[in-house]
Assembly symmetry: C2
Homo-oligomer: 347 residues x 2
């Protein structure tokens, strides 16, 4: 029967806007005592008592930020939440609530939006986040997602970008460049598929890269780790646009310079192997790749013993006077000015 | 010279994302002591001390929510902020911050986005709102705006939708239906213009309607007025989708019924005259028109003397037991069931 081959397709118009919101949000549980009122009124009501409130927002557009031909909707939902939580953690805060607004064209049936919300739901569950509001509307073309994340921190715990000091150490979490390479691998497979729709992609050698692209995790664990280690960074930022651009933000806003050591940049073996295969410079990829959602922070040198040998943290350089500039020190010992695109000599 | 006729067109790509945000937000001043950190870090940091935090968000899409052929960008920016503030006021809170995310296709030059932000800036100035964050990105088609508004209230002052009680009075602010009629007038003018581009629209007779559509004001003044009058509504909602749908929200969520008196619904003389001209039923327009951004609330009967004869407030009905249903009492004394679309007999 032909009907059996069809996936379920329920038109969004059947539910209406209020019905859709109710349907999509019914399985979301409230986890935080700070959430006084979630979905269902003109606005959400939150109570943070004596904590400060951290607010960040992101907008993701189909065809600009994601390509549904290789990004499953569930992963997209998950990743959209991660991108926002990462910004809250980068303030040394704990994320607690999100609002999610989506616009969808009529090419999306209810089942597609349910899949997107499955990913959002999983992200909320894994990170203990309350969905407290949003908006659902139609779009003329494609899908777009706007998420606002809200978190909390004690006033004395919040870490800004503009407070790095000369001689501080520059520390990065995890490893870099994998998410960008994952995207290159997926785009190559898409091109192969377009030429030969029967080809079966073998992504075994790229599993880590593809996972970093399709299912990134925000570093909530690092915020806990830093508290456990009794380390308060002097400045912090999340790495969404590539290491180089984020280091420059810290340097500019803190009015300092830095030395970043090429040989210290943490790279996964799959990143090194795939860079060789694609004939790419792995340092360039780490500096400019983006979407890693790792954290970059500076610490006072006296905190070094506390973080030393921690497998999640790598010291990649140190802060200098502003007059020194922001520089990459290559493996050959050469000092090259950092730019938002990587470094100046390869532009 | 041909060049003199051209409006300035600066490509957004020239500025880059960070340059654009800096450029657009440089004139925004911080007005609230609750804003610890606004634009310029991974997230904003707010401090509400012992107040509760109110959060609401809205998404506006070109071709769905607005038509730039008769909605000037400055007005669009202003209105987008109003729609969000209105939701905060509807919780009996004071709005204090917004985040603004926009996506624009490359048909918009910098000057267009500046105009949009002029409207946002004016709204922030008029309502004492701090712009504390956002996102700026490109879109595949058209313009979209996602705004999140944040406000504050003492826990005991917050007013929800689900707390109306039997015998409470149903009160509405301002007058209804004008924004919807303003849209009808503008759409008619657009059609005339398309047939004859040299025609000059004469909107003198519709000035109030057009202003309500293009430059609505959120009712911050009512929240202050209610405090001055020492009236705390028992339930409240803003009228963005038409009176009927909002009354039903209060009735359903509060588990009550109501009588709404047709003859009490406040209408501006221009609404009455234009309804006659367009051969529309003014009650239908008030019930279903939408975009009025007035407030609908219920008060205890004992508070009636405090609001009596106030020109901003009209008692339009009262709350009944749920078993009574939600009804419109017509001028002829007939009782008709209210539906989200108006009332049942005219569907």
């Amino acid at each position: 029967m032909i009907e059996d081959k069809n996936q379920a397709r329920t038109s969004l118009a059947e539910l209406g806007e209020f019905g859709l919101i109710k349907h999509l949000t019914q399985n979301f549980k409230i986890a935080h005592s700070t959430t006084i009122k979630g979905v269902g009124d003109d606005a959400a009501v939150l109570d943070f008592k004596n904590k400060q409130v951290i607010v960040t927002t992101d907008l993701l557009i189909e065809g600009v930020h994601f390509d549904l031909s290789y990004m499953p909707l569930k992963h997209l939902g998950y990743k959209a939440v991660m991108a926002n939580l990462s910004d809250v953690y980068a303030m040394n805060g704990m994320a607690s609530q999100i609002t999610v607004s989506i616009a969808v064209s009529n090419r999306f049936p209810l089942e597609a939006i349910e899949e997107l919300y499955e990913g959002i739901h999983l992200a909320c569950k894994n990170y203990a986040i309350d969905l407290v509001g949003g908006d659902t509307t139609s779009s003329v073309t494609g899908l777009l997602i706007s998420i606002t994340a809200i978190g909390e921190a004690k006033a004395e715990d919040v870490v800004y970008r503009n407070t790095a000091k000369t001689n501080d150490l520059l520390v990065v979490t995890g490893d870099l460049g994998a998410a960008y390479l994952g995207l290159q691998v997926l785009e190559r497979e898409k091109q192969v598929f377009e030429v030969n729709p029967n080809s079966q992609p073998d992504l075994t050698n790229y599993s880590y890269l593809v996972e970093r692209q399709l299912k990134p995790e925000a570093r909530k664990d690092i915020i806990k780790l830093l508290k456990d280690l009794d380390v308060k960074p002097t400045a912090m930022i999340d790495i969404s646009d590539g290491l180089s651009s984020e280091i420059l933000h810290i340097c500019e806003q803190s009015n300092v310079g830095c030395n970043l050591y090429e040989e210290k940049i943490p790279l996964d073996p799959q990143v090194i192997a795939t860079c060789e295969e694609f004939d790419l410079n792995s340092t360039t990829i780490a500096l400019s790749g983006g979407e890693d959602y790792e954290l970059l922070f500076t610490i006072s040198q006296e905190d070094f013993p506390k973080i030393k040998a921690n497998p999640h943290l790598t010291v990649i350089g140190h802060i200098t006077d502003k007059s020194h500039g922001a520089n990459l020190v290559t493996r050959a010992g050469q000092q090259i000015e950092l730019t938002a695109q990587g470094w100046n000599s390869i532009k």
